[in-house]
């Protein structure tokens, strides 16, 4: 749930999603759900010559399970807040 | 409710003896017995991790101390502590007497 919340705070920011098939897509994060499925707008594929079929695609839905990494805009991530929230979630997890 | 229930077994009789270690007992008994001991953790990739088992959880996530990474017989890495994600684990083997 914590990571889901982080992604929600990053909506309308530009992120780069790297898929497990090595395709990297940069775009504006429009929405995310609890499975970390991601909707991107105004997308641009990193290596267009290698993925010519993606050239006409302007927006996409990415299934969470095919994601390897998401590069986040560091200036919009409060690392101290993240660590505190992580400790709180870990403590809540330990109770049950 | 009204069915005839057998009398409860006498409670003060001796409890079942503890299973002799390493020769019988459930998988859980094995895992309990092996915590704090030297173990070999083999991953599905074939890589072995040898170290002292700190603890593990129900997903078989594992914390190891003094870990050596072995790839087909040669040490490829050493770590003070390691967390191994349980889905990668093929088996845990005791590397010393229990």
């Amino acid at each position: 749930m914590l990571i889901f919340s982080v992604f929600k705070t990053l909506t309308d920011q530009t992120v780069t999603v790297e898929l497990k098939n090595d395709l990297s897509i940069t775009g504006v994060l429009k929405s995310v759900d609890q499975f970390l499925n991601i909707r991107l707008d105004s997308i641009k594929v990193l290596d267009e010559t290698r993925h010519p079929h993606m050239m006409a695609v302007k927006n996409c839905f990415i299934r969470g399970s095919v994601v390897r990494y998401v590069q986040l805009p560091a200036e919009h991530v409060d690392t101290q807040l993240l660590e505190d929230a992580t400790r709180r979630e870990a403590a809540a997890q330990a109770k049950r | 409710m009204e069915e005839s229930t057998p009398p409860p077994p006498p409670n003060e009789s001796s409890p079942p003896p503890p299973p002799p270690a390493a020769t019988s007992g459930s998988p859980t008994d094995f895992l309990k017995g092996v915590v704090g001991k030297r173990v070999v953790v083999r991953l599905t990739s074939g890589v072995d991790y040898k170290g002292v088992l700190s603890c593990l959880d129900g997903y078989m996530n594992i914390a190891l101390e003094q870990t050596e990474e072995h790839v087909n017989g040669t040490i490829t890495n050493r770590y003070g502590d390691t967390f191994i994600r349980g889905n990668n684990v093929l088996y845990i083997s005791a590397a010393e007497a229990l």
Binding site: M1, L2, V67, Q71, T86 | A63, Y79
Partner: protein, 92 residues
């Protein structure tokens, strides 16, 4: 109790104690990361900053010669299903 354990009751404690520290992460696909850990969850989804990724590319024809590619990333979410192991900095 277990005498050798240093106050760790469950594996995730090891990760919790590594928050805001540099960790080593081994991933599927012959990838390794080094980065500062800021968040994780029960799936081992991670958020790391100041990340260096190392990719080992084994050249099949070249008698198993290993090429290494490195790159840096500022702030990175790592999906937990690719994680094999996480090693915190050695605590002494």
């Amino acid at each position: 109790m277990d005498p050798s354990s240093s106050g760790i009751q469950e594996p995730f404690d090891l990760i919790r104690l590594s928050l805001s520290e540099r960790v080593f992460v081994k991933l599927r696909g012959d990838r390794e990361l080094s980065g500062i850990l800021h968040a994780y969850d029960g799936h081992m989804n991670l958020i790391l900053s100041d990340v260096e990724e190392t990719i080992m590319i084994v050249d099949e024809e070249g008698q198993g010669a290993v090429n290494i590619a490195k790159r840096k990333m500022n702030m990175l979410f790592v999906r937990g299903d690719g994680v094999i192991l996480v090693s915190p900095p050695s605590r002494t």
